[in-house]
């Protein structure tokens, strides 16, 4: 369990969570980046950049 850096709400990670994965805060909907999984650390995800894609 970690706290959302935006709203402070509790966010739980799935067992297979990966560092670098983006998850949504169930409370405020913010996109959060998984910085660490053990213990879980979350940061606000980077904003979408113009050159992102495939």
């Amino acid at each position: 369990m970690a706290n959302c850096p935006e709203c402070g709400g509790e966010v739980s990670l799935h067992d297979d969570a990966e560092v670098g994965e983006i998850i949504d805060c169930g409370t405020c909907g913010a996109e959060l980046e998984v910085i660490d999984v053990d213990p879980p650390v979350l940061e606000t995800a980077p904003e979408l950049e113009e050159d992102w894609g495939e």
């Binding site: 297979d16 990966e18 670098g20 994965e21 980046e33 980077p46 113009e50 992102w52 894609g53 495939e54």
Partner: protein
């Protein structure tokens, strides 16, 4: 073998790849491109001893430069910087496809509003203006009238990055409400799907419905030729169906993607897409290893 996965965001696609690599007992090093500093001659420590780097950078600019540096260090990387450079830029990609004789929509590039307007008027309405760098159907404009064209060119000229002043103008292809995405490894299709939408943009990222698609011989041939035209690798080749009154049913290749997303395809096809992709990556790593051993 030791695989480096270069990333800045772990999407579902990367999770599928990571899972497949680990299941097969490969040592996987996740390398966050945001943490790296690329020297002109010495590779960053994170790349030490990797047999192959799989470039999964989300940012096209990072993908282009990182693959270029890795190749300069002699570190095998998929896709190659040459492929990345061609696929990253729609003008380069269109040139490569046309140069290889692969059917692709008629396209012109112009550098001023006035010359771009001439291109638009020559194509007629509707036609399409795209950014040369971009993905997921973003900032694409279907232009239905001269007044819309004037507004879009004015906005691109005034508000955009300098790349938006490279006006990439293309004929509008009246596709049958869908296009085709093929994931291919060196031109060999792994699987294909159609992406259908009421909207003229049929990107999966725009919410298009997806369904498995069986490729015919003509489509397979075009995928192989499009792949070769851009330098090969793990690619997403996009085709539209055309129905010319004289030539009949055919295809045109409008895009080739070099950091292809395949989760949508994996969800609709019988093929185990990440398994097939990793089969091919293993072969690439082995070939790179053999080449290194054979080198003097």
């Amino acid at each position: 073998m030791k695989i480096g996965v270069l990333y800045s965001r772990i999407r579902h696609d990367e999770k599928l790849l990571l899972g497949e690599f680990r299941e097969r007992g490969h040592e996987v090093t996740k390398i966050d491109v945001r943490d790296q500093r690329f020297d002109l001659t010495e590779p960053p420590a994170a790349f030490a001893d990797v047999d192959l780097v799989v470039d999964r950078c989300l940012a096209t600019s990072r993908s282009r430069y990182a693959t270029r540096f890795l190749a300069a260090y002699g570190i095998p990387v998929v896709n190659s910087p040459e492929t990345a450079a061609v696929c990253a830029d729609k003008a380069e990609c269109s040139l490569a496809l046309a140069g290889a004789g692969v059917p692709t929509p008629r396209t012109e590039v112009a550098f001023t509003k006035e010359s771009a307007m001439e291109s638009i008027e020559r194509f007629g309405y509707p036609c399409v203006v795209k950014p040369v760098i971009g993905s997921w159907g973003r900032l694409l404009a279907k232009i239905d009238s001269r007044s819309a064209a004037e507004a879009i060119l004015e906005h691109k000229s005034t508000l955009g990055h300098y790349e938006h002043k490279v006006f990439y103008i293309q004929e509008f292809v009246a596709k049958p409400g869908r296009d085709i995405r093929v994931v291919a490894t060196d031109g060999e299709p792994v699987g294909a799907m159609v992406r259908s939408s009421e909207h003229w943009l049929t990107n999966a990222a725009k919410g298009a419905d997806t369904e498995q698609f069986e490729l015919d011989d003509e489509a397979r041939d075009l995928v192989a030729r499009a792949s070769e035209a851009v330098g090969g690798g793990l690619l997403g080749v996009d085709l539209m169906e055309t129905n010319d009154p004289d030539a009949g049913h055919s295809y045109t290749v409008h895009e080739v993607n070099h950091t292809v997303e395949f989760k949508a395809l994996d969800g609709v096809t019988d093929v185990d897409v990440p398994a097939r992709v990793v089969d091919w990556l293993e072969g690439e790593a082995e070939a790179a290893d053999e080449a290194a051993v054979a080198a003097p």
